[in-house]
């Protein structure tokens, strides 16, 4: 401070400014603490699942069917069942969702019909999972006569997770500059040629993040598959989409609420496997997005 004493005092803070500055510090601290308190449970949950469940995770646990009324053995059929559900629901939801995203970003005119579609997407995302389950029972299991099967459960999951894919596809397509499309149209390309050769190649990884997120959500859901295709106990593997299957989420629900005398570590270990699966998918999705943002040239 090389300035004179008088200048220094002239610019010193009044009590009022000082008070507002200390209020600012207090507010900031409170907000920081609130944030920390929220993030704490995340780490606590992961920590507890790991410390309680890790000891039960063995090759036998991961690769064998449950035995002795689900109090021994492993979770292999549940892992395979979850993979079936993910695969089939993805095969249904991805094409419909991506095409719906293309429609909304590339074709839809700005009118009340498009507003209705966007409203429907928001509401579809907000429908409770158990209402999706009722829909699955009414529409797929009974009306279409698919019975309780992997197909019914996967279709229910597909409808439920559709908004995730639509929203991320729309976002990915919207990030491709309009100038790219103008350039392509000027060269005589049709609308579809422009989408296929210009827009999609420039947004494919953005679309992929939404698809991975859909997979993650489908893997974790329980309510929609409870009455449409997931079995409590099925020691053999499904052979086709018409079979029922076990699922990790359903298995965790079963062993923690319905079955007596399960070893204490079993549900922890099942939860840990499920969480690892879901978090891995999320990690890929987030990593891909971060990489894309860093790499984007426009």
């Amino acid at each position: 401070m090389s300035r004179g004493e008088t200048e220094h005092t002239d610019f010193s803070a009044t009590p009022m400014t000082e008070a507002s500055h200390s209020r600012q510090k207090i507010a900031r601290a409170f907000l920081g603490i609130a944030t920390a308190l929220l993030l704490l449970p995340l780490f606590a949950i992961i920590g507890l699942l790991v410390t309680h469940g890790m000891s039960a995770i063995t090759a036998e646990f991961l690769l064998e069917a449950p035995t002795a009324g689900m109090t021994a053995g492993g979770i292999y059929p549940a892992i395979i069942g979850t993979l079936w559900l993910i695969g089939v629901s993805l095969a249904v939801a991805a094409p419909i969702g991506i095409m719906a995203g293309i429609y909304l970003n590339e074709y839809a005119p700005e009118n009340w019909v498009t507003r209705m579609i966007n409203l429907a997407i928001v509401n579809l995302a907000g429908v409770p999972s158990i209402v999706h389950a009722l829909f699955g029972v009414g529409a797929f299991v009974l009306f279409l006569g698919l019975g309780t099967s992997i197909l019914s459960a996967s279709l229910t999951l597909a409808v439920m997770t559709l908004p995730v894919i639509i929203a991320s596809t729309k976002e990915a397509l919207a990030s491709v500059p309009v100038a790219f499309r103008h350039a392509s149209w000027t060269l005589g390309a049709s609308r579809w040629q422009t989408i296929w050769h210009i827009v999609l190649p420039n947004s494919v990884s953005g679309i992929l993040t939404g698809v991975i997120l859909q997979v993650s959500r489908a893997a974790g859901e329980t309510a929609p598959i409870m009455f449409t295709g997931a079995a409590f106990y099925l020691p053999f593997l499904p052979q086709s989409v018409q079979d029922q299957c076990m699922a990790l989420s359903m298995h965790l629900f079963t062993v923690s609420t319905q079955v007596p005398n399960v070893p204490e570590a079993f549900p922890y270990a099942t939860a840990l496997v499920l969480l690892t699966l879901v978090v891995t998918f999320n990690f890929f999705s987030i990593g891909l997005r971060t990489y894309l943002r860093a790499r984007r040239k426009w």
Partner: protein
């Protein structure tokens, strides 16, 4: 273009063009069809859920009893009752407690991330919130059952730890990510000129948040809260596992309750298909659909209001 090409090229071009002339409209129609799929599905959901319970809803359901009676005795032999008031009270009590936790923490975190952090730290916090959102509801339910339950019994000397408190805390944590991300979007939507003007007048960051950003982002923040409420009302497996199984109007947070969603999940597997009880569960489904539709519609109108401004 075809004028200058040789004969064979011309043939190829016209063949591929002919194929394109058929394929392209077909693809575009398929895209249009998929574009409308969300509308089909929303109507489909309402139609199938309603029609599966329609016979009971139209002919034998006493609407007044359904909405105002706390007596839910669907399996009673002599005195069947289909009143949902206790279930609605269960849903409302758990949702209210969840919001008492999720709203201050969620909005506080949204403000902290949006206004007081930047750079990699901000990105890291956003990613952690996303991971919080990724935890499956059955894992949350298991946390309530295996970890929260004994803690509540110890701390509050309660006879059972599966109650409104347990379910409310779990649901609160589950609703936080959506409140944070929508709330942060709402704050981001406030133009930077507002912040600059306020700071230039000598206001501190907190004064700017409190006096400028909150009023400016009001409807977006309200939408964030509403979407959190929607999420909490609709959550099924976590509350089924964490709130106990008592159909009653709770007197304290330590009472067990059962929500609308949990009732369907707990009873659907045990009813005879097509029976009155089975159809009554679909009637609850219709009620839930209407609840969440109203909440989401309001939130959407609020968000759209901001965009149009």
């Amino acid at each position: 273009m075809t004028d200058t090409t040789s004969g064979t090229d011309e043939g190829q071009v016209s063949t591929s063009r002919r194929i394109a002339a058929i394929v392209e409209p077909a693809i575009e129609w398929l895209i249009r069809l998929c574009g409308f799929s969300a509308i089909f599905f929303v109507f489909g959901i309402f139609f199938f859920v309603f029609s599966s319970g329609a016979d009971f809803i139209m002919n034998r359901l006493d609407v007044v009893e359904f909405m105002t009676s706390p007596e839910w005795y669907p399996t009673s032999v002599s005195n069947k009752r289909y009143g949902t008031l206790a279930l609605v009270a269960g849903t409302l009590s758990v949702t209210t407690l969840a919001m008492m936790i999720a709203v201050p923490f969620g909005l506080g975190t949204a403000v902290f991330i949006s206004e007081f952090c930047d750079g990699p730290f901000k990105e890291a916090l956003k990613i952690i919130v996303e991971f919080l959102a990724a935890i499956p509801s059955v894992v949350w339910g298991f946390i309530g059952l295996a970890i929260m339950n004994p803690v509540i019994i110890d701390v509050f000397n309660a006879p059972i730890g599966l109650n409104v408190l347990n379910g409310g805390v779990i649901l609160g944590l589950m609703s936080v990510p959506i409140i944070v991300s929508i709330g942060e979007d709402a704050l981001k939507a406030v133009p930077d000129t507002y912040r600059e003007a306020s700071l230039a007048l000598g206001a501190t960051k907190w004064q700017t948040v409190y006096k400028v950003l909150f009023p400016a982002a009001r409807s977006g923040l309200l939408a964030a809260v509403l979407l959190g409420v929607g999420r909490a009302i609709g959550e099924t497996i976590a509350v089924l596992m964490a709130t106990g199984h008592a159909v009653q109007i709770p007197n304290s947070p330590l009472d067990s309750v059962r929500t609308l969603t949990a009732t369907i999940a707990a009873e659907l597997g045990e009813t005879a298909q097509g029976g009155d009880h089975y159809q009554a569960l679909f009637a609850i489904g219709v009620l839930l659909f209407i609840f969440t539709f109203a909440v989401n519609l309001t939130a959407d109108l609020l968000v759209r209001g901001i965009k149009n401004k």
